[in-house]
């Protein structure tokens, strides 16, 4: 999505922009993950930069094309690219190649407790931390997303027609359960309390399974594809992008069935493209398709503050440092803001 910059008046800088550091790198930001109090950012030219304390590292030449996906494993960053490589990168910038699929892209990566996982096409590869050779988990269709549950016992794989949940049985054999729902499922996540599994679909919907009884239901009404979602707190809300408002579904008590979401409104006709829960708060950062980012309390719709103003480019990444002191915002135009979240006096 592009916007004509000249149509917009020169905006005053927000206090967060004034006290933060801005980087205008002109390279699309594809991913950002926090790793301790550093934030690693992946770019559309295959580089990774590590931001710490308002400073950026030199670009690390990780992939030839695009950094398609990112995750973390302890103190390491994991990346997958359209050059077919799955990499582990240390905070110092040392690169270890885990595998190379050549012209087949590494679409998704994740990890839990030293066990590394990536997907390429229809196959998930699982590296047990004690083994050199990965286990292949085959699927009938291309994989849209991967997620471990909080304890790392179950691995959910989103695909066409539903989700396959993999689990190792007592004899250490992989067993799968299929949760079927017609259509193409992309991003997938367990709720932090492990009770629900949610996916975002090609069809502008969220699909949800309650795992104890496998009841499933859809959350619809979105005007566009839901590219980003996240659980807030310990599964109290599911915050979602894909509409003009940030849509927050209640997941406490008996869950969202038959209940209305809380809608957090921002700018008329500007779509929320990215949501990032603020850890330990019932609050979210919402990024819009024209670059602005807001911080909102979910249960108090009057309490929204602007973090970053218009840039003209879709917000594509938001990450908060582990100590919750700083946030990094990135967009498809390569504009990055690193800023402290709390006002000095509150610190």
């Amino acid at each position: 999505m592009t916007a004509d910059v000249d149509q917009f008046p020169e905006l005053d800088k927000t206090k967060f922009e004034q006290r933060g550091t801005e980087f205008k790198l002109k390279i699309p930001v594809t991913n950002a993950v926090s790793i301790g109090n550093s934030i690693a950012v992946g770019f559309g030219d295959g580089t990774v930069r590590i931001f710490f304390s308002g400073q950026s590292s030199e670009p690390i030449k990780a992939h030839d094309g695009v950094v398609l996906c990112m995750s973390t494993d302890g103190d390491n960053i994991l990346t997958g690219g359209d050059d077919g490589r799955f990499l582990k990168i240390s905070l110092k910038g040392e690169i270890t190649e885990i595998t190379n699929f050549g012209s087949r892209w590494v679409d998704h990566v994740t990890a839990h407790n030293g066990n590394l996982v990536c997907s390429s096409g229809k196959v998930v590869y699982y590296w047990d931390k004690n083994k050199k050779v990965p286990k292949s988990l085959d699927h009938d269709s291309t994989i849209g997303g991967l997620a471990f549950d909080a304890k790392g016992r179950r691995l959910a794989v989103a695909r066409y027609g539903g989700v396959t949940v993999w689990k190792k049985d007592y004899s250490n054999k992989w067993k799968s359960t299929k949760l079927d729902w017609k259509g193409s499922h992309n991003k997938v996540s367990f709720s932090p309390d492990g009770q629900y599994l949610v996916t975002s679909m090609q069809e502008n919907q969220i699909h949800c399974w309650r795992l104890k009884d496998k009841i499933d239901f859809a959350m619809s009404g979105y005007g566009s594809k839901i590219k980003s979602f996240g659980f807030v707190g310990d599964s109290k809300y599911l915050a979602t992008s894909g509409a003009i408002d940030a849509i927050c579904w209640p997941f406490d008590g008996d869950g969202p069935m038959g209940r209305s979401p809380i809608c957090l409104p921002y700018l008329a006709n500007k779509l929320v493209t990215y949501v990032e829960p603020f850890p330990n708060e019932n609050a979210i950062f919402s990024g819009l398709n024209e670059g602005s980012v807001f911080l909102s309390q979910i249960e108090n719709t009057n309490n929204t503050i602007i973090i970053r103003s218009f840039t003209g480019s879709e917000v594509s990444a938001i990450a908060v440092t582990e100590d919750r002191s700083h946030v990094l915002i990135g967009d498809m135009g390569g504009n990055i803001l690193w800023t402290s979240i709390w006002d000095e006096e509150k610190k």
Partner: protein, 323 residues
């Protein structure tokens, strides 16, 4: 949505051995200094000379939107979305399909996925056909027929290997299926690239230029499921409500058999001309400005598909004329 930042996508289709890879390599070697991404299927012929070649699965899935024929290429959504994150801007993307591929899901992908539609645009479907074997391929394989039906341009290749009378026969066969495609005779796919690239064939503006190559139709086809085409013209303005009701229902119920539609419509009491084009049940439609001064207003409507004679199209269209 149309904007200048969209990267044009050319789809190369054609039956096995027709010469798609020859054409592809021709494009890549002749367009110096341009940055192309080429999306090929994994079982395709090898030897493509380009920096950026992406393997695709040709994975087709059905949208869960109640539209039974709304199939899209899931792998294309994934790959095009990934390519649009690149730091370097691509001049164009070329998608080579397998010889047995149905072009409809490829075209429908550009209608259905918002991100794909915002950042890329389907420029044209270019079908490479083997002048020697096309006639028999059409009889034996419905895919070959569909590839002709969907082509905006048809490169009739290997013409040096057929007699002139046979060539005319093949061309007549193509025109019967698709009277709107531009047919270009070639040997070894030798064609000026501006005749196959940057055609903007799927833009609504181009529909205004559609002048079908009308052919005396003799209706002597051998099979009931042959792909044919029909077109209608009316100087009497149409009633918008009646048209929408008829056309909407037609696509809902017969969309599987209707491969492509195009039209320019003159509605009663409307000063704008309305233009539309569709693939199966999916449509792109818009008013396209006032009718040109001093030019006769008329409605033109074109269908390419199977079993068209069973759809009472003429009667349906006649009933839409305003009283």
């Amino acid at each position: 949505m149309e904007n200048s930042n969209q990267v044009p996508v050319t789809v190369l289709t054609g039956f096995l051995g027709a010469g798609k890879t020859t054409l592809l390599n021709r494009i890549l070697t002749e367009q110096h200094g341009k940055k192309y991404a080429v999306i090929v299927n994994e079982f395709g012929e090898q030897g493509i000379d380009n920096d950026l070649v992406v393997d695709a699965d040709e994975e087709v899935f059905e949208m869960n939107n109640g539209c039974i024929c709304c199939t899209v290429r899931g792998d294309l959504i994934r790959i095009l979305s990934g390519l649009m994150k690149r730091a370097d801007k691509l001049d164009a993307i070329i998608v080579e399909t397998t010889g047995l591929a149905d072009p409809a899901p490829v075209a429908q992908t550009f209608f259905v996925d918002q991100d794909v539609a915002e950042r890329t645009k389907l420029d044209a479907i270019v079908t490479v056909a083997d002048a020697v074997h096309l006639s028999s391929q059409i009889v034996d394989h419905h895919e070959a027929e569909e590839q002709i039906a969907f082509g905006d341009v048809i490169l009739l290749n290997k013409i040096d290997l057929v007699k002139e009378s046979d060539l005319e026969q093949v061309k007549n066969r193509i025109r019967k299926i698709n009277p709107f495609a531009k047919i270009i005779n070639t040997t070894k796919c030798g064609v000026p690239l501006d005749e196959i690239l940057n055609l903007d064939a799927f833009s609504l503006k181009r529909v205004l230029e559609v002048e079908p190559d009308f052919l005396e139709s003799d209706h002597d086809h051998e099979h009931d499921d042959d792909v044919t085409s029909v077109s209608f013209v009316s100087d009497t303005p149409l009633d918008m409500e009646k048209f929408q009701t008829w056309f909407g229902k037609l696509l809902q119920t017969k969309g599987q058999d209707i491969l492509r539609t195009k039209g320019i419509l003159d509605f009663k009491d409307e000063s704008d001309r309305y233009v539309f084009q569709g693939v199966h049940m999916l449509m792109d439609a818009s008013p396209m400005g006032k009718w040109p001064e001093g030019k006769e207003r008329s409605s033109r409507l074109v269908f390419i598909g199977r079993n068209l004679e069973s759809m009472n199209l003429k009667e349906g269209f006649e009933n839409c004329k305003s009283a």
